[in-house]
Subunit: 245 residues, 2 copies
């Protein structure tokens, strides 16, 4: 929710959307998602998946996200945020607890999208010239010495779509022998980049829930970022959150 | 984005939405809005309007929001968060800089909506038995000794609507002799509680922009929280953010 450093020139709009559900019959989701304004312009979204499930996983993912968010709010660069968050968790938990951590930044200083992965889950990226999986080997934070993020930086250009998810999406269906066909969802449901970010996030979470027969076996979170032509001119920024009581 | 402590019993959904725009021809908005999970369950939304406009106002509102968010994330109760944020700003800026601060919490422990106001702007509240303005005298944070928030707490019940805004909304039209008819907007456009939170926030911001002839004379932010029957069953939580590049 921060003004742009460079308004109006190309009439693009960022839409970022999250859909998320906790493990079936668990009162706490071990996935945490939060966002923060970048002090020099733009927005960062932090997704963490704490080891195990329930209250302890929630505590871990909360600690990790709070540390990352507070550093991002101070203007610390993303790669240093991921390293510092790792060191912090490893120091405070003696290297015994891990979390998967993804940081997605819309950086208006560099006009780039920056993705920092400390996760086994790959990230899907579509640009004007085609799609790819960001799947360089990458370690969760909290365990080993000197863990580093895998970082990808791409220009903020029309047609860009980025999809980040946690293990509950990626491994959905494992209990019943099913498997998420993510490439199929992207091709069939959003082949022409026709969906909004929230619709695509919902479609992916729905597919995971269907594979898990409505009883997710793990906390499941999906984050979609899209850059599209601006639908209505103007400088209004919007944020919406919806959740059941 | 946190699981509910009490799922499914009454099938209500919280929808919270923000619409926000910076002062015309100013590259920075002095209004900041951020949200945070409450560690014991629920969500808090913090709105701050820093004194003056441009970069210095942005810095002040950011400092205030960061402090409030970090305390809320630690589980500090809302009244103490507002007091501590005031003391912090007053100590660090020598009582020379003020900010208007509103904290809105959906507290799943108490099943209440808690509104803490340190702002001249009133807050609009509609419950099943009618609507009212929360307009107890209330001081901005940062200046005087021992400033306290004005706190209102109401049950999380169907039909609840809460509208918080900053001065750029409340005083829209002052340049041209116009005046926001907020009661009129609520009665005419949402008299039957038919709008979604984002639609109502957009309608209010649109009215302010119209009065200011598309050139807002101050940073303007509106936050709407609604409790409605759940449209689709399920435990999915959703977050969406949209902004022009």
């Amino acid at each position: 929710m921060q003004p742009s450093a460079q308004s109006g020139s190309d009439s693009l709009e960022v839409e970022a959307a999250v859909a998320k559900i906790g493990k079936y019959a668990s009162s706490e989701s071990g996935d945490t998602v939060e966002l923060v304004e970048r002090p020099h312009g733009g927005l960062s979204i932090v997704v963490a998946d704490g080891q195990r499930s329930g209250r302890s996983a929630k505590t871990i993912s909360n600690i990790v996200v709070r540390k990352a968010i507070s550093l991002l709010a101070e203007g610390v660069r993303d790669g240093a945020v991921a390293r510092a968050t790792h060191d912090y968790l490893r120091t405070h938990r003696g290297g015994k607890v891990s979390a998967e951590l993804s940081i997605v930044s819309i950086d208006l200083v560099t006009s780039t999208l920056v993705v920092s992965r400390n996760s086994r889950c790959p990230v899907w990226l579509r640009q004007a010239d085609g799609s790819s999986w960001l799947d360089d080997p990458s370690e969760a934070v909290g365990i080993h010495r000197n863990t580093k993020p895998s970082i990808t930086e791409v220009p903020l250009q029309r047609g860009l779509t980025l999809v980040v998810f946690t293990d509950g999406i990626y491994a959905a269906g494992a209990r019943t022998g099913g498997k998420m066909d993510l490439d199929g969802i992207f091709a069939r449901q959003d082949g022409e980049n026709q969906l909004g970010a929230q619709e695509l996030a919902d479609a992916i979470l729905d597919a995971a829930l269907t594979l898990d027969q409505g009883r997710p076996r793990d906390d499941a979170t999906v984050l979609v970022v899209k850059l599209k032509p601006q639908r209505h001119p103007g400088e209004v920024r919007r944020l919406r959150i919806r959740f059941p009581l």
